[in-house]
């Protein structure tokens, strides 16, 4: 160590310079970190999708891509619809009351979570960690499912189960029901997904 006394004014300026340099460094980091954000092109690619469901038969599902995610359109059978209210006690959020603005638009806040009772429109992505659940429409005992299974979906990643209205069962990793995307009927058989204002 040197014995020279500390020049405090020099030290003050060194600290000030160091701070100014740090501010500059942080400011330079901003554009670099900003490049991680979705590009303008990615932001623009969110257009609504139109689907013709005239060919959809009861018990069938069609999948369309909207914002890179699968959206399912399912025509439920009367038996499947009849089961919905009966399984309420086994569900985590049967009335879709949890975060309704994110998961269930106002026109789907009902027993069947849809505009038309038989047609369910839902984003096929598990709210847990983003896998796409597989369809398990057949009722009864099968691997990874309870013996009194009433039909629905099973997420292959972490085992969350959903009923035929996309409502999650209790004590499963997924905290929420499947998302119902904004959608609107342009006519009886033409459905617009991604926008509910046009009509």
């Amino acid at each position: 160590m040197s014995d020279t006394p500390i020049d405090s004014s020099k030290r003050t300026w060194l600290i000030a310079t160091g701070c100014a340099g740090a501010v500059g460094g942080v400011a330079t980091a901003v554009p670099f970190v900003s490049t991680f954000q979705p590009s303008e092109k990615a932001k623009a690619a969110g257009a609504a999708v139109e689907v013709d469901i005239s060919e959809l038969k009861p018990g069938e599902r069609v999948t369309v891509e909207w914002r890179g995610k699968p959206v399912w359109i399912i025509k439920r059978t009367p038996e499947q619809l009849a089961e919905l209210p009966k399984i309420d006690p086994q569900l985590a959020d049967p009335q879709s009351k949890r975060k309704p603005d994110e998961f269930t638009p106002p026109y789907a806040r009902n027993v069947h979570r849809s505009i038309k009772p038989e047609i369910l429109v839902a984003v096929g992505i598990c709210p847990h960690l983003g896998c796409s659940p597989t369809e398990k429409f057949a009722m009864g005992a099968q691997p990874s499912l309870p013996d009194d299974w009433k039909g629905g979906f099973l997420c292959p990643c972490h085992g969350s189960t959903f009923d035929m209205a996309g409502r999650v069962y209790k004590n499963k990793p997924s905290p929420d029901n499947l998302e119902v995307p904004p959608h609107v009927y342009l006519s009886d058989t033409r459905l617009l997904i991604g926008d509910d204002k046009k009509a």
Binding site: F36, A42, G46, E65, K69, G130, S144, P173, S174, P175
Partner: protein, 470 residues
């Protein structure tokens, strides 16, 4: 400047050349002495000590094969899968380079897990080697990031959905999560932007960090000296030394251990090449079958699981359900009650414990189990960093610990393997229960270590290392 050495004009050409270099670049000659010819390693190393060298060898294999793969691979969502198949079918010997790289990834984790377990057995993380261990844990973490991002590049179904799940883990963090996940993906779903940035991280950013950490790991190791199976300091003030101050229980790393390691390297390469040539997919464990299907953002494969080396941690993630949260809350309450009733500390600290436990329980009740699953999975890796301070045994090596400690370690290993197995399997109610018990045991092993590692009567540690000349 170092002193300029003159050499006799009659010296051989080789000696003159060496002298010429030594005068101009003495650092290299010093480094050779400090790290090779005069680095004294304990002479009682057993086979467990090969895995550090092997990890370095695998690192070299990965870097070299990686450089050649990048020459043919295309980081583009539309072309990535195709370009990997092109490497496999059309690039001369491309299949070999790719299989070496994919097998190397699994080999890396095998040798690193064994290397870490060696540290656990012989207390290699204990004072004064805490930083060596911490750098090592950081390497493990960097390696996990490297493996995860590399796995997206072939753009198969497993690549895609694995990345989707792991990136969504970050979305579980309260408040900032969704934006953070968006920042990682660079798009609203895993897509081309994600693939490109993962490629950049995989081939340049993480390898640079990894190399820096490996250098720090080795430099810190050579500063404090290697541990050994007896856990005895061979360079300490009381350790036996010869007239020149060289440790009697040590031998120069070069040539003794360099030559010795050749045997281990040969055995390793025999196993490695056997996998590369005869079982590159290793039954779906090294290369998962679903990854031979191109990524499809609309369909998740019926069974998705991470590659084997992540599965113990993945099991712990899956184990955290709403039910499990009550068990965890009970653990927090019990721990706090125990600390308050039995702890010898001022009342103020007891107050802090009660408040912290209350806040913890409140958070555990108010935030989704999903987030705590992520915390548990991250915590399972982070807890390793604290091992030097958790282990309070009076002796380092398992050899001189009470015999029953061996059973504790055996159960830990079996538990880890069971968790790994369950992580590969499809979710099932029984598997869930077992993995919940396994998770509690994993954390119990570490968090209760300050207590159990002190129990029992340690055996007499000898003054000199156990070594028989052969």
């Amino acid at each position: 400047m170092a002193e300029f050495k003159e050499i006799s004009p009659n010296a051989s050409a080789g000696a003159k050349l060496t002298n010429w270099f030594e005068n101009r670049f003495p650092t290299a000659f010093d480094a050779y002495r400090v790290h090779m010819s005069e680095y004294y390693a304990p002479k009682n190393f057993n086979f467990w000590y090969i895995f550090g060298s092997l990890a370095l060898l695998v690192l070299v294999i990965q870097i070299v094969t990686g450089i050649f793969l990048v020459m043919h691979y295309k980081p583009d969502a539309a072309k990535a899968f195709e370009s990997v198949e092109y490497i496999m079918r059309d690039v001369p010997w491309g299949w070999l380079i790719r299989y070496m790289h994919s097998t190397g990834a699994s080999a890396f984790f095998i040798v690193v897990y064994l290397h870490m377990f060696r540290g656990l057995l012989y207390g290699s993380y204990r004072k004064p080697r805490e930083l060596v261990w911490i750098f090592g844990c950081a390497i493990f973490l960097a390696l996990m990031a490297e493996a995860f991002m590399g796995y997206l590049l072939p753009w198969g179904q497993m690549s895609y959905w694995g990345a989707q799940v792991i990136v969504n883990l970050f979305a579980a963090i309260p408040f900032v999560g969704p934006d953070l996940a968006l920042l990682i993906r660079g798009d609203y779903v895993v897509g081309d932007a994600t693939l490109n940035r993962f490629f950049s991280f995989h081939v340049i950013a993480v390898p640079l960090v990894l190399l820096g950490l490996v250098v720090a790991h080795l430099l810190a190791l050579h500063d404090v000296g290697s541990n050994n199976p007896d856990g005895i300091e061979i360079k300490g003030p009381n350790a036996p030394k010869d007239a020149k101050g060289k440790p009697l229980d040590g031998i120069p790393f070069h040539p003794y251990y360099t030559v010795h390691d050749i045997l281990g390297v040969c055995l390793f390469l025999m196993a490695f090449t056997a996998v590369v040539f005869f079982a590159p997919e290793a039954g779906g464990y090294f290369l998962e079958y679903n990854n031979f299907i191109p990524a499809d953002p609309l369909v998740t494969p019926a069974h998705i699981a991470p590659v084997w080396y992540f599965t113990p941690f993945y099991s712990m993630l899956r184990a955290i359900t709403t039910e499990m949260m009550y068990a965890l809350i009970a653990c927090v309450v019990l721990a706090a009650a125990f600390g308050v009733l039995k702890g010898r500390m001022p009342a103020i600290f007891k107050g802090i414990i009660v408040v912290a436990a209350a806040v913890g329980v409140l958070l555990m009740l108010s935030i989704d189990a999903k987030f705590w699953g992520v915390v548990v999975m991250g915590g399972a890796v982070i807890i390793l960093f604290f091992l030097p301070w958790l282990d309070c045994s009076p002796v380092k090596s398992i050899r001189y610990r009470p015999s029953w400690h061996k059973y504790v370690y055996a159960v830990f290993v079996v538990n880890f393997v069971i968790l790994a197995y369950l992580g590969v399997q499809a979710p099932s109610p029984i598997g869930e229960r077992v993995s919940q018990v396994g998770t509690l045991f994993y954390f119990g092993f570490f968090l209760l270590m300050p207590w159990w590692s002190r129990l029992g009567e340690p055996k007499q540690v000898p003054d000199r290392v156990t070594f028989a000349a052969h």
